[in-house]
Amino acid sequence: MAVTINGTTGITTPANTVTGNESVGGNLTVSGTGSVNVTGTVVMGSSFKRNRIINGNMVIDQRNAGASVTPTSSPTYTVDRWEYTFSQASKISVQQNAGSVTPPAGFSKYVGLTSLSAYSLSSTDYFRLDQPIEGYNLADLNWGTASAATVTLSFWVRSSLTGLFGLQFNNAAGTRNYPGSYTINAANTWEYKTVTIPGDTTGTWETGNLTSVRVGFTLGYGSSLTGTGGAWNAGSPSAVTGGTSLVGTSGATFYITSVQLEVGSSATPYEMQIYSDQLAQCQRYYSKSYDTGTVPGTASTTVGSLANISTSGGFSITAAQIKTTLRATPTVTLYNPVTGATGTWYDGGALSPTATVFLYGVNNIAVYTVSGSASSSVYGHYVANSEL
């Protein structure tokens, strides 16, 4: 069966024709196997590309390629675009598909956090998994104005612990904060959650290439940082009182995937991305010369590296085009493809000349090496980091 929406005649089905304008207050479901044909333009409150979270299904893991890490410096980016932020090092390990449980139907990846000890929170401790969202991707929300848009966060979550868990929405300066919450009802079971929050009508919210909103899942917050949730505040409290502390139980797990943040007061199905599109979205913030599945710093990766020829004086300049225009001028780390060490490249004379970034840009970088072998091939890798 086909349904036709026409600006002149309204909604038409083989069995019925509605003339003029028609308004449907509830949901409209087309259960037939035909198509929906629109003569004019479909105007939506939201849109395709509606998910403001990047890598919400945790598929891209350029830094670790699925390996487990135990962060010691905060924040530490884990799977792409997701950072683990904490006050105490080495309390949690993070890994794509940690524990190798079956993801929710329709998904292949999740990010898993595992508590490494039974740690008692001090009053100022904090642990969270979060994603900072670039202002360009949220400017239409009009936060900080009277017309601030309501948003809905949805996700699949699974934990060995049950009870109240905290959420956090805040601006870059931390001067606006919304402590939210959700409940995990059954241990070790995937549960689908949706949380709707009103847009903030005050405060300063970035609309350019810096952090606008930081969306966080709290995993343990000290008593001096917690309070009543469910409303915007001026930065305190950061998290809801009574939120479950993952770090309080040795071996406790927290797995999450299909995170979606969209405009409106209801959640829609997770917006799947073509893999290459999603990778490119991540590469705006983190780009590397290594193969996608190779962890930067891996030794013996000359194949696939940048290559050039040095002068008779053992000097070389190599330019590299970044795959996707970066958010901002990147921090660049240069890797020796043979040893995996940083700060040097490698040449055909088996030397490791010092490598230095010569030019920075959001589309290109240039590197020079000195004190290498004369008239020799030169190999090197880079990571360009432009994270928020």
């Binding site: 780390t333 010569f358 920075y360």
Partner: protein
């Protein structure tokens, strides 16, 4: 964690950026307030928790 921060020059820029170790990895940070590492380094400098050495030859 930022350690061993030092400005460095190139033929075209003085300084061209900051060479420092970020979590132990030698890295090159541009002079760009929109770069998160640069902003973090400047915040540490302002707090008196990090010193950036001048470029060699300066």
């Amino acid at each position: 964690m930022y350690t061993n921060a030092q400005y460095y020059n190139t033929l075209t820029a003085s300084p061209a950026g900051i060479r420092c170790d970020i979590n132990g990895a030698t890295s090159f940070v541009p002079i760009d307030p929109a770069n998160t590492d640069y902003a973090n380094i400047m915040a540490l400098v302002a707090a008196g928790e990090l010193t950036i050495a001048p470029a060699e030859g300066s």
